[in-house]
Amino acid sequence: MRQFSQLLDGLVYTRSRNGKLDLIARYMREAPDPDRGWTLAALTGNLDLKTVKASAIGEMIRDRTDPVLFEMSRDYVGDLAETVALLWPRRDDIAPESDDGSLSIAAVVDRLSAVSRAAAPRELGGMMDHLDASGRFALLKLATGGLRVGISARLAKTGVAQAFGLDVDEVEQVWHALAPPYAALFDWAEGRSGRPDPAGTPFFRPFMLAHPLEADSVDLNDYAAEWKWDGIRIQIVGTGGETRLYSRGGDDITGSFPEIARAFAGQAVLDGELLVRGDVQGAEEHGGSAASFNALQQRLGRKAVTTKMMDEFPAFVRLYDLLIEGEEDLRALPWERRRARLEAFMAGLDTDRFDLSTIIEAPDFEALAAIRAGARDAAIEGVMLKRRDSPYVAGRKATLWYKWKRDPLTADCVMMYAQRGHGKRSSFYSDYTFGCWTDAPERGGELLPVGKAYSGFTDEELKWLDRFVRGNTVNRFGPVREVDKTLVLEVAFDSIHNSKRHKSGLAMRFPRIARIRRDKPAAEADLIDSLRRMIS
């Protein structure tokens, strides 16, 4: 258990992605079987010991400590598992605060899988006595299923791949042919056996991504144009028997969108945009409208979804590409041929849940630019340009696909608060909250926050901004500094929406600092009303 608890502690305290990968890789090389396999299951969200509930943990601690002291402790610490791990009373017959090494993760999994729900607290309590505080925390997190150490399934798999010099995409391909504790994976990784056969199981293929368009134009004889939608990219993987949905990072999001998975019974792999029905983005002429990203956000990150949520925010997929049809891998084919296959494939699909991304017809680039400019009113993010002969390849490859976002909106805002960043930026005030005026300040207008940005500036500008914050602090609230309201920031953003979350009633999408306007007096920054007129 000690190796596992040290790994969890490391993942909690390490900020950098590479640091986390190193920790996972080292653990996977050093930990024994089958412990490391169970750890991998826990890290990828594939370990569910249903016998242990939070209430069982509460019961366990109430039997052992003064309930008043427990409640005071929990108020102070916050997290239940951590509170219990820290105040677990020592037993006189066992050395205090040491992990005596008697408990392997495999033993924990075996014992907790075999025990009844009623007997679980007793079993778990017996294990706790043999661990130190880190070990108890790790055990409770393992037993209740939610590690919450801030890593994705993809990162855990990348760590395993790094440990054994494998290609993470190969790990991904065989993943669903494997089951915890993944003996076949480690046998393959360490050369004791061949690659497991992924046949018949759904698995994630890395997405093809686009570069921002930097050239002034492209030749539409070589490139096709589609609308760029503001949803999330989704991959639909159907094996005929089973359908799974993956996000761009390779996380399995089937559970959040069961209605989509249910509506697809084919054997194919498709790439598309997950959207919610609505009329904020686009119109009939763009291939049908969709709700704003905010609406989709209501459905993201949920393990289970209610019928009410599905009715209120009905999801559908606008399809972009067909990667595999039946047994045939189409990824090496030119985009044009895949597109033809996709159009044919649409015939068999449920039109409530799936539609086809429209190809924009334009005789030349100037005409396309005009069409794109006209789409601002329809609140469309921009245009995708795809080389007609491009194969479907993982990641961003120069010249194949471009995203041509519409020019951002901008507003002149006043810096109000600043907060330190993370990682390399932890010594800089790099997150800025900015506001606009409710009315002209000479008429008694006030500043209300309209957004927060932490990018868009150069390193030199960051140093300057950091100095400004330190030199102009008027108030401190924990990690947040309130600054003298004198600095105007030109903020760029993709769009702006109504939002109940903010006092100003506005929420910006992708705000970033475009320019520092040292030349402009704060009183001349924009009014909230002018931002409201930009709402799409």
């Binding site: 909690v12 305290y13 390490t14 900020r15 400590t65 003064d66 008043v68 002291l69 005071m72 402790s73 102070y76 610490v77 916050g78 997290d79 951590e82 509170t83 820290l86 105040l87 009373p89 605060e97 130190d132 505080a133 925390f137 330190r420 993370h422 932890s426 010594s427 950091d466 990690p479």
Partner: protein, 371 residues
């Protein structure tokens, strides 16, 4: 005075409106308590600004300037500037002189006895930081111990806490919750040295309170055979020099200022906690941020400070030390000065001991860094 109900083992509540008749027990597993009413409180008075010793007309650790101050130790929430005359250990007076300029003071040696207005006063080691003392007051046949801050673990930079049986025991409760159980100091030092050796291209930046914690970590490192130079932030320099003057060897300690980043690789750098994530640390070679504090036991506390290597090393008693000490000195009444006093008072009451929380002001200011 306390009128809160006491809870006995049978779970019933009893109001202490008359002397409880609890026989002095002989069971060694249970602390022994004889309730004698009224308690010894009539000549010593807790006030929000400190503890007043009436017959001596003197205040203990007053938070406002006063004529006659008895000071337990040099931390700023106990030792303030501006008093008329201060009685404290030689070390504490030197620390106060360093912080506030020279004040009029009388040095009191450990074990020496003063007489002030019919009160016998002596200073006994508290084991908290260099020069820290418990103030023991005897008057009218009663003894009161004011601990200031204390700990029970070995500390190479100061004398160990000495328990003194008493009638009223005035204790801190900085870590007065059962979640605070500091691990063995040696294992924390091993983690620090392990991280240092595992990352030869980085430096380990250890945040530690400038008075006490920083020097203790240095002395512990030396005790474990680490004799490389330790580089320090300017804010630690004078206090480290003071410790050395008092014969606490800290080894090769050098200013970090002016060092090239590459020359700090593989070394330990120490700074006050406030400098950990500040501009000062930008000069360091990819520092691994550590912090030595009892607060590091709680994950969220460590994460809030962007600490990668939390070291649970405290100069305050943890929960077990607090409760064991109260049981050991067996007072008829415990006063809890600052920290998580409700929990400790609750513990005393469930163990049939009289206890009350004192609402002292200004004692929490530096806790976050000092812990």
């Amino acid at each position: 005075m306390m009128t809160a109900g006491l809870r006995f083992d049978d779970g019933r509540s009893h109001l202490l409106d008359r002397p409880a008749e609890v026989p002095c027990g002989t069971n060694p597993a249970r602390p022994i308590f004889c309730f004698q009413m009224p308690s010894a409180a009539h000549w010593i008075e807790p006030h929000p600004t400190g503890i007043y010793v009436r017959p001596a007309d003197a205040w203990i650790d007053p938070s406002l300037p006063c004529e006659r101050a008895l000071v337990t130790h040099g931390h700023a929430d106990h030792a303030r500037g501006g008093h008329g005359h201060v009685w404290a250990t030689r070390e504490t007076l030197a620390i106060m002189a360093l912080r506030y300029g020279t004040a009029s003071g009388t040095a009191v040696g450990y074990g020496e006895t003063l007489r002030m207005g019919g009160v016998e006063i002596s200073y006994v080691p508290a084991g908290h930081v260099l020069g820290s003392a418990q103030i023991v007051l005897s008057h009218a046949g009663e003894r009161v111990v004011v601990t200031g801050d204390y700990k029970r673990r070995p500390d190479p930079t100061c004398l160990p806490f000495q328990p003194v049986p008493c009638d009223i025991f005035v204790t801190e409760a900085t870590f007065g919750l059962p979640v605070f159980r500091h691990p063995d100091t040696g294992s924390e030092m091993d983690r620090l040295l392990g991280a240092l050796h595992a990352e030869p291209d980085r430096c380990v930046l250890v945040g530690a309170y400038a008075l006490g914690k920083a020097q203790r970590v240095m002395a512990e490192l030396r005790g474990r055979g680490h004799h490389d130079p330790i580089y320090i932030h300017g804010a630690l320099e004078r206090m480290c020099a003071l410790y050395a003057d008092f014969g606490v060897p800290l080894g090769d300690v050098r200013p970090a200022a002016g060092m090239a980043a590459k020359d700090l690789r593989g070394h330990i750098v120490m700074a006050p906690p406030s400098a950990l994530n500040d501009r000062w640390s930008r000069r360091l070679p990819d520092p691994l941020t550590a912090m030595a504090s009892g607060w590091m036991r709680v994950r969220q506390r460590a994460r809030q400070r962007n600490v990668e290597l939390p070291l649970v090393i405290s100069d305050h008693a943890d929960w077990d030390e607090l409760t064991d000490t109260i049981a050991e000195v067996a007072p008829s009444e415990t006063w809890v000065t600052h920290g998580r006093e409700e929990a400790l008072v609750h513990w005393c009451q469930t163990h049939q001991m009289r206890a009350r929380a004192l609402a002292l002001t200004g004692r929490e200011d530096e806790e976050e860094d000092e812990g």
